[in-house]
Symmetry: C2
């Protein structure tokens, strides 16, 4: 890496936000909204994954395919959208074999079927660089019902789906940076390889949540995006953040892993805000979908994200925690 360059957020704000249409939500949301019919909106999202950056070059090809699709499905889920179809731009290189592609296509087929999202188009190219997959997913929501990042209001209760931190811990296990008993290492690595897009939760949140997003950069960073977009502050209680049994075992052995859990990212859970009066509705959705939906904090009148641990604000070392 040579030339000095703006970070991703600054680069988008400076060069590309001026080109954005009204449905682009300032290029700051998980997805764009386009009016295409009198009673529904098209929801569009686009994510690139690159070998060596977003997945490991020797990851099983079927899981690479499923993750590439699921990170896009997760964006649709956070908007409460029903999947319509996807386009796949696949940039191969000389080391990709027919056998690799066969496994990749088998994995993709599995999720095309599981999520009822047909392949509708794409492009296949070859370069000298790393394998690169860009998926553009389309979904739809009833008109004006998509959940944005920008609607959180002071007093709302902040929730997350599922459990947080598993993927980041799983990657650390795969890279040999974290030693855990095999049953935990395997469970966490599975969460890294295979996100669980919360489609049913997202749809049920329409009309209930004031703001939602999928957690990809890290819980605290993404709550920071919600706080910024909504012009509010968010305070969460670290010890309320839901952990899997494997993550709890990791934390018991090394409490310093909290930072990885709160900032590691790749969770693909939904973080959302709901008015305090609607929390009973959230419990009902959790029951109906079978997905844990856990209150972890509150929206405040301030700015930024504060994480309390044991009654004290945590000092977080990584600069990745807050995108202002």
């Amino acid at each position: 890496m040579a030339a000095a360059r703006l970070g991703e957020f600054e680069l988008i704000a400076r060069f590309f936000a001026p080109l954005a249409g009204p449905g682009a939500l300032g290029l700051r949301d998980d997805a764009a909204l386009l009016d295409v019919s009198p009673d529904s909106q098209l929801v569009l999202t686009n994510d690139t994954v690159i070998a060596g950056v977003h997945f490991r070059a020797d990851d099983p090809p079927d899981l690479v395919a499923r993750k590439a699709l699921r990170v896009n499905l997760s964006d649709l889920a956070a908007k409460g959208a029903r999947p319509l179809g996807f386009l796949q731009a696949l940039t191969l290189n000389g080391s990709i074999t027919d056998a690799w592609l066969e496994s990749y296509a088998r994995g993709l087929a599995e999720d095309v079927s599981a999520f009822h999202i047909p392949l509708v188009g794409g492009d296949t190219t070859t370069s000298t660089g790393p394998l690169c997959i860009t998926i553009t997913a389309l979904g739809e929501t009833p008109k004006d019902s998509a959940i944005l990042r920008s609607g959180a209001r002071a007093g709302d209760v902040v929730h997350v789906s599922g459990s947080i931190g598993d993927s980041a811990l799983g990657l650390a296990c795969l890279m040999g940076a974290l030693n855990l008993p095999p049953e935990h290492a395997v469970a966490l690595a599975d969460r890294y390889h295979l996100p669980r897009p919360r489609m049913d939760v997202g749809r049920a949140l329409r009309g209930n949540a004031t703001a939602a997003l999928d957690i990809s950069d890290g819980l605290v960073a993404d709550l920071g995006h919600m706080a910024d977009a909504s012009r509010v502050g968010i305070t969460i209680e670290r010890d309320a953040v839901p952990l899997s049994a494997s993550a709890r075992a990791a934390i018991a052995a090394d409490p310093a892993l909290w930072e990885k859990i709160l900032a590691g990212g790749d969770d693909y859970e939904i973080a959302f805000a709901v008015p305090a009066a609607r929390t009973a509705e959230i419990a009902r959705i959790a029951h109906e979908t079978g997905v844990a939906l856990t209150p972890i904090g509150r929206v405040t009148a301030g700015t930024g994200v504060t994480v309390n641990a044991g009654g004290q604000p945590m000092t977080l070392s990584s600069t990745g925690y807050r995108h202002r």
Copy 2:
């Protein structure tokens, strides 16, 4: 390039066509069609361009941006679609500077405005490989009016828009493989750098053309795609193929350049078939749009593409000419 692998068309047919939804047109058309409202269809296309493959790494960044967008617009044009918006997945690398991005964004802004196609979303990533741009463009047509590749019928007259071969000759000039007087070299290089998507022609062809596609692989190869999709043959007269003054000058100096003109690709003109009874309508469209629309041959009951030159079928050396 190491491992043996299927070609692009075989790879798509074998691995990805089985995953395609009904609107994907078997992944063999320029674009996909999706029903999203009672009276219009969404038209979707997706093209990746890579430095060193689809453009030269030292091409002016503003022209790289405009070409990346225009190759997608050309796909919409061939379907007769009105542009709605696009998503941009930009994969940078360490050698891309802020100055490069500024020029790139300026070029993109120019075409966003010229073609009334807002940016609606995207993703920005960094890899160790070459610069890579995937644009997904969305358009719309009135319900069931999009022009497919598959509708050509024996007896139809085959036309092309504009002039053919300029881009391939321009690239040869830029690479030092072809020496022409500067005024011709500059005009041809401009056609390589800046495709002219024929939006107005495409829309006017709705209801008139039985089949259409944009010429990207090469005139003969793409007519082959139309012939295959329509289960017909196509015979064209080489000397009817419309050439610019610069291409005529090149051919006068070296008649062997016909192969580059017929097979070089990157033309981004529209090839289309119309019933013989409608050719007067085509002359009217040419007049109204100011774009030459030239008859170059006929659809036949056979298979494949035949090019006649001086009353004899030409023998074409490149295997790229026919995709069966």
